[in-house]
């Protein structure tokens, strides 16, 4: 497939010719000490603004543009009807401090979503408050810590496998916990290493299953036993939920806490990086510690329950990213229990098919069967002077968003491929053929790729060495970049 991305030599907003400023007298309105002089936001015609951002959008690649197998991110089709629902005035134009009696529809949706997510995860209670997966992790760890404290124990050690996502480390690190990283064995948790790490300081062990290599941790019940025997809690990073819908659940695997990434499994759009939503589910014993409020149902209707004395409090304003929660709820109704199971069936089939077809093109370490994603390695291409980054850049020339690269760290020259369920065999075949072709190409073509995108390879080192993060800094920097 050939591809050519649009390129507009589009000026910066601040470089566009502005209409004259219309002075306005605020002397009656703002105290003298606070009166502003000058505001350098250009005054442009509305049609020109729309054209500016439309051109920018044409220099951007989304799922609707093409295949986006960005591992660990579950870039599946975002249905359009959920966009329409989220734009309803009954979503957009209700204020979060409104009296409960005036927002019964919203509260009912939240209440039902709490229940549905609990069922899917095999948990007993769910908070919808966290804004993304990482905030879910932070919330989950706060809950775990409150639980231990309530039992008169101080535990401050979080165990993580070396395949864990960076946010797991960062969430535990921000909370000031000690982190014990355990090495993997054959791409799975090493039970022995876990056994020697777990002890009376263990707050929690965080794991995603299938793990970030796409491998199902078959010994998950033994893992749970080891962690629980030490008095610790087992935390499920829900980033990989797309692999297990209707096949198993974190609850069934004896996890105690789980976060969901609704922007992954439940396909609320990724928005160029967000917003997302990261609800957290817990088993009964941890329910008292969930953030306030939870939505409950009593004789008078749906109700925001703040009367939860053991709650950890709040992790963000109000009740979570409501407009995203509406989308996820509608998606779940549309799919149903049967449809969600088919989601995982096809996601896993697609991943295994691509993995199978790529054998011989790239290395795929650690045995055969995978779940919804797999990690390949370009290490053997090093002799030709080709690195994963070159493959990734060259893939763009064929109209593909590259997979996740250089994660997990365990695999050298890693390329993490997650096709998702919303791709046809035709697309997957074309992708495999493109990658096969690329591997055989002149290394110089790869190293100088991409050639067909809006711009050529971007100098990221320069950006970090002399950071220019705003028009102000650009003005101050000399010489001005062209």
């Amino acid at each position: 497939m050939s591809f050519r991305q649009a390129y507009w030599d589009e000026p910066l907003l601040m470089e566009k010719r502005s209409a004259p400023e219309v002075p306005i007298d605020v002397s009656e309105l703002v105290p003298p000490k606070l009166r502003r002089v000058g505001l350098a936001i250009p005054n442009l015609a509305e049609f020109d603004v729309v054209r500016h951002f439309t051109r920018l959008s044409q220099m951007n690649f989304g799922i609707d543009t093409g295949f986006y197998p960005l591992g660990s991110c579950t870039m599946k089709f975002n249905p359009k009807f959920t966009e329409e629902l989220a734009a309803l005035p009954t979503v957009a134009r209700i204020h979060p401090d409104q009296d409960e009696a005036t927002v019964q529809g919203a509260l009912r949706l939240l209440y039902e979503l709490q229940g549905i997510l609990a069922k899917i995860a095999g948990m007993d209670a769910v908070t919808l408050q966290p804004a993304a997966g990482a905030q879910g992790e932070y919330t989950g760890l706060l809950i775990a810590s409150a639980y231990h404290r309530d039992r008169g124990e101080t535990r401050n050690q979080v165990i993580l496998p070396d395949t864990a996502h960076g946010t797991n480390f960062a969430s535990a690190g921000m909370l000031g916990y000690d982190i014990v990283e355990i090495p993997s064995k054959d791409g799975r948790v090493d039970l022995k290493a876990l056994g020697s790490a777990a002890g009376d300081k263990t707050l929690a062990f965080m794991l995603t299953n299938p793990n970030t290599l796409g491998i199902f941790e078959e010994h998950v019940l033994e893992i749970a036993d080891v962690v629980h025997a030490a008095g610790g809690l087992l935390y499920y990073d829900g980033a990989n939920f797309n692999a297990i819908l209707g096949r198993t659940s974190p609850g069934k695997m004896n996890f105690d806490i789980v976060h969901f990434n609704l922007h992954k499994t439940f396909t609320t759009p990724h928005g160029g990086g967000g917003p997302g939503a990261g609800p957290v589910g817990v088993k009964k014993a941890l329910e008292p510690f969930l953030p306030v409020p939870l939505v409950s149902l009593n004789g008078r209707g749906y109700h925001l329950d703040y009367d939860r004395p053991k709650s950890i409090g709040k992790v963000r304003a109000w009740y979570g990213n409501f407009a995203l929660l509406v989308r996820a709820y509608a998606y779940i109704l549309r799919m149903g229990g049967d449809g969600l199971r088919e989601v995982s069936d096809r996601a896993v089939l697609n991943a295994n098919y691509v993995r199978h077809r790529l054998q011989g093109v790239l290395d795929v370490p650690f045995g055969s069967l995978r779940k919804h994603e797999f990690v390949a390695s370009a290490a053997s291409l090093a002799t030709k002077g080709i690195r994963t980054v070159d493959l990734a850049k060259r893939l763009m020339d064929f109209g593909y968003h590259p997979p996740t690269v250089y994660f997990p760290h365990l695999v050298e020259e890693a390329m993490m491929i997650e096709p998702t369920e919303t791709e046809t065999k035709e697309t997957l075949d074309a992708f495999v053929e493109a990658l096969t072709k690329i591997v055989g190409e002149d290394p110089d073509v790869l190293r100088s790729a991409p050639h067909n995108t809006a711009v050529r390879r971007v100098d990221e080192v320069r950006a970090a060495r002399e950071p220019i993060l705003s028009a102000r800094m650009a003005k101050a920097a000399k010489p001005a970049p062209s």
Binding site: L56, N60, V91, G166, F169, G272, V458
Partner: protein, 423 residues
């Protein structure tokens, strides 16, 4: 022709989809999800629409709530841009060559935030010596979230009370609270009561600690930016810039700072650079601060953020321009002032209870207490302001009222009529 599924299974050498899950031990398998079967799109749309119809929107019911979420008018162009699927179906621009459009839009957003706040650098959004001073009059959930985010830092907060006459920070109390243990001071302008904080210079001069100012980005159009007063960091809620209230989420965390702090700034940051041909280009930068590189030593755990709201804010500000934004800000002040004056004329009510200049919110008191007023308004289909008693007991008799350009004359008239009728 066999289906995709059959062909793919055959290629892998498997009999059925179940074989793909053979690695899941029987002990943890579930037969299916305990949920009803899926429904056609039209049925789902009808069902969800009808469920949500139980909500009373601010159109159905004149509503005078603010407190961090505001119902400003959003030009349709903003949604037309954020609804472009090249933007909303993309993710974090890890691969800059194929994501220049979003990167430029986010860099422009950063530039606009720097202009509004008087800072050098901003991030594309987020979600904090040993003691941080914060105002006692602070939206309760801000305080609660702060407490949870300070857990790992060992930093404690100490509250500084407000001046009972002006509603601004009590400078005497600030001096008492300042000690060698204080690493930072946070104030808001306008503050929780909608009152402009006129003492930014005095507060800056009182301490060498990190000075953090919370702002309303729309007010910034006509108010001197915190950067002019020596603030180190400016934060704010960006929802008023082109995002609807959405029952409180998503929200846009504005974060901007002076150049000397950029390597400690949390969140995603876009930088200006060049491509291999020397063309201007953008990419994410300073990534060594971030979790995917620095892991537990990262400046934050942020991965997914609020990018699309940043695009909305950039579009909103571009559509309005400095002229339009100033007009909105000035109009908000005039409306709030007019509304307060009308309420103040009604027997039993005082508004605003604090002397001096306000933005688009103000505190209303009723001599017999506010909660009964609130209930009476609700019965008549009008939603009053935020009752303050739960958070600040001395303001049990008061509520925080807000207005924006979206309040029609009729909505205001209905509020005033019901307040008049209150006995």
């Amino acid at each position: 022709m066999p289906s995709d599924e059959v062909e793919m299974l055959r290629a892998i050498g498997l009999q059925s989809v179940d074989d793909l899950f053979a690695d899941i031990p029987a002990a943890v398998r579930i037969p299916k999800l305990d949920l009803p079967d899926g429904l056609p799109e039209d049925v789902v749309v009808a069902r969800v629409t009808s469920m949500l119809a139980a909500n009373k929107t601010v159109v159905d019911m004149p509503t005078f709530l603010g407190g961090g979420s505001f119902d400003h008018f959003v030009p349709a162009s903003v949604r037309a841009i954020t609804a472009r699927s090249e933007f909303y179906t993309s993710y974090t621009p890890y691969q800059p060559e194929i994501s220049q459009g979003l990167l430029q839009a986010l860099w422009e957003y950063q530039s606009l935030m720097c202009e509004l706040t008087g800072m050098d650098a901003a991030n594309t959004s987020i979600q904090g010596g040993k003691v941080f001073l914060i105002p006692r009059a602070l939206r309760h959930h801000r305080r609660a979230v702060l407490a949870n985010y300070l857990v790992g830092t060992g930093v404690k907060v100490r509250e500084v009370d407000y001046d009972r006459a002006t509603g601004m920070l009590d400078l005497g109390k600030l001096h008492e609270a300042l000690g060698s243990d204080v690493c930072g001071v946070y104030v808001e302008n306008p503050n929780f009561f909608g009152r402009f904080e006129e003492q930014l210079q005095e507060i800056r001069d009182a301490t060498k600690a990190i000075f953090v100012v919370g702002v309303n980005p729309i007010a910034q159009a006509i108010v001197r930016p915190p950067g002019d007063f020596g603030a180190d960091i400016v934060i704010g809620e960006g929802q008023p810039l082109g995002t609807p209230m959405n029952f409180g989420g998503p929200l846009l965390g504005i974060f901007a700072c002076r150049q000397e702090h950029i390597r400690k700034m949390p969140g995603r940051v876009i930088g200006l650079t060049r491509d291999a041909n020397g063309h201007r280009a953008f990419c994410m930068t300073l990534q060594t601060r971030e979790q995917h590189i620095r892991r537990e030593k990262a400046m934050s755990n942020i991965c997914t953020n609020e990018s699309l709201l940043a695009v909305a804010a950039a579009t909103y500000l571009s559509v309005l321009g400095s002229n339009g934004l100033r007009r909105v800000a000035a109009d908000n002040i005039r409306r709030a002032r007019g509304l307060a004056a009308s309420i103040d004329k009604i027997s039993g009510f005082t508004a605003p209870i604090f002397r001096g200049a306000h933005f688009n919110e103000f505190v209303v008191r009723h001599k017999k207490g506010y909660p009964a007023v609130h209930r009476a308004l609700l019965e008549k289909g009008v939603h009053g302001g935020l009752p303050l008693g739960r958070q600040l007991p001395e303001l049990r008799d008061s509520a925080l009222f807000a207005t924006t350009g979206r309040h029609t004359l009729e909505a205001v008239a209905r509020l005033l009529a019901e307040l008049e009728a209150f006995r």
